[in-house]
């Protein structure tokens, strides 16, 4: 089945690339929301209408311009098992909303998995591009290019004053949501996040846990994204997020240096303990795994550990999640089984790396 090729491997091809500032920024993402003219938004569309939306948008895949961008495959949500859907959510290729609530939902994914195009999510069309490291402009350029191909083939709901019309008022205008996923262990450790967060929200940005709205921040990973989509150009939105993220990166670097200067033994001890636990534990819940993996990643970035590759850490962050674990072991697992299998998987991967 088509979905298999995207759910088999934990790491998307793009994740193996090293982006700028990849010691702190895990990935940069841009998604744009678009709707077709003269058809109700997915929430109110009849089954017939949402089928029509799916057909019209799926056809664009055949356009010559689309083929110039890359090799895309389409997967229909109705053809996928619950487990496959979950794995795609854990890989950030589809949203939980598309997995759980869409009617006639589909996703068109590029071969390297850097671009995924969701159909019949909250809006008719959601184009999402993910790049490794700090590459917001690049992600926006690719998303905009794909947007141009769609716009050439279908009529968008667009208004001169309000811009691109979206289902939710928080997306109207540019329809753009840009975000960076950043690893901030030193800011968390030095308890500076509480001071930083209000400042970030005051400049029109939001901070969330890594699985988007409503999810917990795990393993010191934070997602910072723009909230404003109307009254600013795409460039202003990207630049604003870029400059705030740049400042946070600098704060994190300073905090890392400070920790290394003031308590090198303590931080080394913490990192090596975490590595020791990851390589020897028999039971490991997901929260502990995330925290320990965050420690080891910090150790790697600080040059305190050298025999672990960052690819393996990235892979383990994705693979130690529920959906993936079940996928690896080929069946539904209860919590206790998951904790045991998670520990085994981590031991195994780290000993080989």
């Amino acid at each position: 089945m088509e979905a298999r090729k995207f759910t088999e491997k934990a790491l998307s091809e793009w994740m193996r690339g090293k982006g700028p500032d990849s010691d702190i920024v895990i990935s940069s993402r841009v998604r744009i929301a678009r709707n077709l003219d003269n058809l109700p938004f997915p929430m109110l569309a009849t089954n017939q209408q949402s089928k029509e939306i799916l057909d019209r948008l799926s056809q664009v895949m055949q356009a010559a311009e689309m083929k110039e961008i890359g090799n895309f495959s389409e997967v229909f949500l109705s053809d996928m098992s619950e487990l496959d859907k979950r794995v795609l959510v854990e890989k950030h290729l589809i949203s939980p909303n598309l997995a759980n609530e869409s009617r006639n939902g589909a996703v068109i994914i590029s071969e390297n998995e850097a671009a995924s195009i969701m159909i019949n999510e909250e809006d008719h069309l959601r184009i999402q591009c993910l790049y490794p490291g700090f590459q917001l402009e690049e992600a926006w350029e690719l998303a905009s290019r794909i947007d141009d191909v769609f716009e050439e083939q279908v009529d968008y709901a667009f208004d001169e004053v309000r811009g691109y019309l979206t289902s939710c008022p928080t997306n109207v205008g540019t329809g753009i949501r840009a975000s960076v996923m950043i690893h901030l262990p030193a800011l968390v450790l030095t308890q500076q996040m509480n001071r930083l967060l209000p400042a970030i929200t005051q400049v029109g940005l939001a901070v969330r846990g890594i699985y988007g709205e409503g999810s917990e921040s795990i393993g010191n990973l934070f997602q910072i994204s723009n909230q404003i989509t109307l009254g600013q150009s795409e460039k202003e939105i990207i630049d604003n997020l870029h400059s705030v993220a740049r400042q946070i990166i600098e704060h994190e670097k300073a905090a890392r240096e400070k920790i290394m200067q003031e308590s090198p033994i303590r931080i080394k001890d913490r990192i090596r303990r975490s590595l020791g636990i990851l390589t020897h534990a028999e039971v490991m819940d997901s929260k502990e795994a995330s925290q320990r993996l965050s420690d080891v990643r910090l150790g790697l970035d600080l040059g305190l550990i050298d025999h672990v590759s960052s690819d393996v850490l990235n892979e383990l962050i994705v693979m130690s999640q529920t959906g993936f674990l079940q996928q690896v072991y080929g069946r539904k697992l209860n919590t206790e089984e998951r904790d045991i299998y998670r520990a085994a998987l981590i031991r195994d991967k780290l000993s080989k790396s």
């Binding site: 709707n35 003219d37 003269n38 058809l39 109700p40 938004f41 929430m43 109110l44 909250e122 905009s144 947007d147 141009d148 716009e151 050439e152 009529d155 968008y156 709901a157 667009f158 208004d159 001169e160 004053v161 309000r162 811009g163 691109y164 019309l165 979206t166 289902s167 939710c168 008022p169 928080t170 109207v172 205008g173 540019t174 753009i176 996040m193 509480n194 967060l197 209000p198 929200t201 029109g204 939001a206 901070v207 969330r208 846990g209 709205e213 409503g214 999810s215 917990e216 921040s217 934070f222 997602q223 909230q227 404003i228 989509t229 109307l230 009254g231 600013q232 150009s233 795409e234 939105i237």
Partner: protein, 173 residues
């Protein structure tokens, strides 16, 4: 109704959260919401701007109280049938025509959410040609004013010619 958090101020934001069919309700005041939202990053409470939306939609531009008055309830989108009152509960438009039908009430909402009411970003290339020209015209007129004020008349004359050229193109369709 009094705020569930501080128990003092009146609750102005009301949430209904449904997770796996289980319904929970919150009623809190704005200052508690702000405090929660800023102190707990990305928690499952979901006190982000997005989830505060239905609270914002209940905002009456006249400032005389809640907008779920009988008048608001009767505003309806001809195209998809969604009423303004339904819209303010779910925080989602039903179709692109809702933007036209609810137009009078949207400016205050967009102002609060985005700080702005007018799109200045990307324009669809195929359908947006005339909008692009209009934007260029506005920009040129601004530049013309600037040149005149600064007594740069030679440049001003050039810009005036560009404006005439554009206006000719617009009237020719």
């Amino acid at each position: 109704m009094v705020c569930q958090e501080c128990g003092k101020k009146p609750a102005t934001l009301h949430f209904t959260k449904i997770v796996n069919g289980e319904k929970t309700e919150f009623h809190i005041c704005e200052s508690c919401a702000r405090e929660k939202g800023e102190l707990i990053p990305g928690t499952s409470n979901g006190f982000s701007i997005h989830s505060l939306l239905s609270g914002l939609l209940d905002f009456d531009p006249s400032g005389k109280g809640s907008s779920t008055s009988s008048k608001a309830q009767t505003i309806r989108c001809d195209e998809c049938g969604l009423t303004y009152s339904q819209f303010s509960k779910i925080g989602r438009f039903g179709c692109s025509s809702c933007y036209k039908h609810f137009e009078d009430r949207l400016d205050p909402l967009f102002k609060r959410v985005h700080g702005s009411t007018k799109h200045i970003g990307k324009i669809p290339k195929r359908r947006g040609g005339s909008i692009q020209t209009k934007r260029e015209l506005e920009e040129l007129k601004k530049q013309l004013q600037y040149r005149i004020i600064h007594e740069e008349f030679e440049d001003a004359a050039k810009i005036r010619d560009q404006i005439r050229e554009l206006e000719k193109r617009i009237s020719a369709g």
